[in-house]
Amino acid sequence: MANKRFIPAHACGPDSRSPSDPERRTRLVQGGTLMGLVACSLLKVPSAGARSPDPLPSESHLAGIVDAFGGIPVTGDEVRVTVPATVDDGALVPVSVESSLPDTREILIVVEKNPIPLAARIRIPEGTEAFVSMRIKVAESGSIHALVRSGGQVYTASARTKVTLGGCS
């Protein structure tokens, strides 16, 4: 895929992501275990974490986020969320959201089980298509929700992904 060539080597950090690196798996397993523990402890204390300049609502549940953005969620096939059914590395999970609803002005990506569920809020100006694709961190297997604001209403759709190794957010 053309995308792969586009990603520079440094995109993957100082450690090579090459599958031929035998130490990487060990490091990831150790790191993943630690991160899992951290994530679990944080989940019990949703208000933990000093995130002072936070422009996103720090709601810890989907319902809270839906409330914060106003509107009753409507589920339909007009909104599509695409994530891999299984991922090895939760630190790098591709997700794309597409809406065929007219006048889609906003797309929110929410990761059900992350300590900070709201991953991104994308504003779609007039003339831009209601489509976005990005990479997110997913702490553990669960649902990825998309919230789409269209015509004053909030619509939701979701997809599930199974994470072998949590990418602690």
């Binding site: 993957c12 569920p117 961190k137």
Partner: protein
């Protein structure tokens, strides 16, 4: 381990935003990669400390005076955020500009030509 992570952060921040934008049949497809550590503030160092949160909070993408995308990111966005999107209009030769600001107040902006 801590010092190695810091080095990684500086390296990521020092890289320019990579932008590919291609206009075809009235639609421009854009792919934007913003090198940034996107530290969540939850990650532990080997010494038991916590790597402080440091992540891109706002992204704005413009073509001339027109804003084609705006995004607010949380630390749950993966390291080196990669954004792909499409907008109507945009001609080969137009300049597309991407700017971000992070939780530490660092700013970066880069441009590319639509092909």
């Amino acid at each position: 381990m801590a010092s190695r992570e810091e080095t990684a952060e500086e390296t990521a921040l020092g890289h320019p935003i990579r932008i590919r934008a291609r206009a075809r049949n009235g639609i421009t497809e854009a792919l934007v990669l913003m090198p940034h550590p996107m530290e969540s503030g939850f990650r532990r160092t080997g010494q038991g400390g916590v790597v402080p949160a440091h992540y891109i909070t706002e992204v704005q993408i413009t073509v001339g005076d027109r804003t084609v995308l705006e995004a607010t990111l949380s630390p749950a966005v993966a390291r080196d955020p990669l954004l792909s999107f499409r907008f109507r209009g945009g001609r080969p030769g137009d300049r597309i500009r991407v700017s971000w600001v992070d939780s530490a107040g660092v700013r970066r902006a880069d441009e590319a030509t639509i092909v």
